[in-house]
Symmetry: none
DNA sequence: TATGAATGAGTGTTCATTCAT
DNA sequence: AATGAATGAACACTCATTCAT
């Protein structure tokens, strides 16, 4: 693996454990056995490193979301499920990066933050578009605001980075199923109605 | 208002805007027109101030949750709604504190963090207990894991601090209604079933 | 002497010897037996220290020049001599500051440099005004450009900071006399003309 | 133009604009589109580059001064004028080099500085010798100290690098004339005497 | 000839904290 | 109850220089 990739890897590990502000460049280079000069040979600043980590994460998400959106063989409900799965999987597989991504955005400088925010906004609006399409096409109820539902889904999924442990008592697939079942049919007992 | 209260107030404002690590004691005392010595007369350390902010927030939440739990006049579904309302209201009314609470926990020292985490855990388990009671008493479906549902609800509500703007296009009551409607009945179109 | 004054004094000594860029804050505080924190308690930056040194120097010059200009008991020729004397004396008495002043202006930030340049310009134009008055009032030749003569006088005097040593073979009063004699009557032998 | 010459040219430009200490080797090589290794192939150190710039400048001055001194067809007064013209022209034509020469000598290492100082001293003593010859041969007054006069002339001319702008309101020839007229005949109005 | 990677010592600056008054 | 002076350890970052290729 290249020196630059090594720096990224180690710094994600340290940023996740100690936090971005609390991790010094010294910490990063010591973990790699190189010197500060080496770090600054590959990165212009500490902030630029954080920016690269953010872009790697959000660009991957957007790429995969795009693939889901383009699929013609599945309906909007399935697309929604795929996106929920995407978000949860990403947290399971790249938990460290996910936690850095969600926690450390405030440490980007204004320009980087604007770029990242724009991409996150795109991801959100793509999801909202699926829900709106599902409403138009009769898959989803039309009496709920699509924008608020979108935030609800994102909150539900993204919050997982705070607690979800792939080695814990629930698998990520169970998580996806529970989330989808709740989102689609709700938690209220229905036989009350059918009785 | 006492000097100490003033310090807390100003520091919440600054911690929310700039972040805890990025706010210096100097920033805090300058905003108040006093000197650093004054700060250290009232607080042993910067971390202790953060701890107090956290405890104020979580203790208030726990107190109100306790009041909801104790009510004998409403069923579990209504208690769930009251807790969703509590979480959303708290973000609307004490947005600054909420954001500091959710973002800056990593800056507590291990002991403070343990205390706060225990209280957050209590809040979560209290919510989970309501859901489990609702399941037992026939209000909620029994085929969903209560623990995962609890995380889903908390994620949905707490995530709001990331985007919810009380002056924006949605009121907090609309938010509560959309969240509850989704949680209880789901977003799938039901007339398919009834046909 | 106050700590701040001490810092100024020591740093003038070091800036003169080693140069501003080549003198570190560490050098300054070590020479005083204090720590870097102390330096930054009194100064916002290294540049601000340099700015204060510059302003002290030029403000003193301007103040004394003003006193000369206001005198009603002497003519323009005498005022010119007093200003030459002022410049040479200042170099003799505050040689270190003079050298820092003339050499290190490029290290001021743009705003500070603008302030200092404006004051130097004022000093120069004050001198030029005396020469122009002397021309109008018949003391000086009118066939020489006052602006160029002013630069010539300033160059002659200010250059002394490069070589003049008060302990050397010429006193500052001899310097003033030679400069004035040359400026007023020139170095060409006159008896050629009168013969 | 050779790579080495290019480096010299660009670095004079940068040293003049930003200062020697404030210009990094990186700045120099970036301006040329080469890498640091290239620089160190042609120069042993940053200081050696500065030394070469200094030597080029002073050697050129000394060479031209030598030519003036050797002329048998003109008297000392004319030789003085030629030297004044040489100094002013040099500033007009090689302003950048001139400014680097006058400002950055302190950044030479002791040996280089000694070499350059010796050459500057030679230039000054050569000028002083002309003045002393002029005194002996009846061209100049004998009641002024030749050493101090020499410093006065050098100051007058060299100071020009601080302000003289060839595109400004005065030409270099005007400057030479004004300086020579002042130096030879002084600025005092003579008709007082002749009346 | 020229490069690219790496070093190591240094820079200006920040800041939580202490403490005599 | 509050101040002002001082500390010391840390921080992000720079840069002249080296050297294998």
């Amino acid at each position: 693996m290249s020196v630059k990739q090594n720096i990224v890897e180690q710094s994600i590990r340290l940023f996740e454990t100690k936090g971005f502000s609390e991790t010094s460049i010294q910490d990063v280079v010591e973990a790699l056995g190189v010197t500060k000069g080496t770090f600054y040979y590959y990165f212009q600043s500490k902030e630029q490193l954080l920016k690269e980590i953010h872009l790697m994460y959000i660009d991957e998400l957007l790429k995969r979301q795009e693939q889901i959106i383009r699929r013609a063989d599945i309906n909007n409900k399935s697309k929604l499920m795929e996106i929920v799965r995407l978000l949860v999987n990403q947290i399971r597989e790249n938990g460290r990066s996910a936690r850095v991504f969600f926690r450390e955005m405030r440490n980007l400088n204004p320009e980087s933050a604007a770029t990242v925010k724009q991409k996150r906004r795109t991801f959100r609006l793509n999801l909202q578009a699926i829900i709106e399409a599902g409403m138009r096409e009769g898959e989803f109820r039309q009496d709920l605001r699509a924008d608020l539902i979108t935030f609800a889904i994102l909150g539900m999924c993204n919050w997982s980075y705070n607690w979800f442990n792939p080695e814990g008592p629930a698998t990520d697939e169970q998580l996806v199923e529970t989330y989808m079942e709740t989102l689609l049919h709700g938690m209220e007992r229905l036989n009350k109605l059918t009785k």
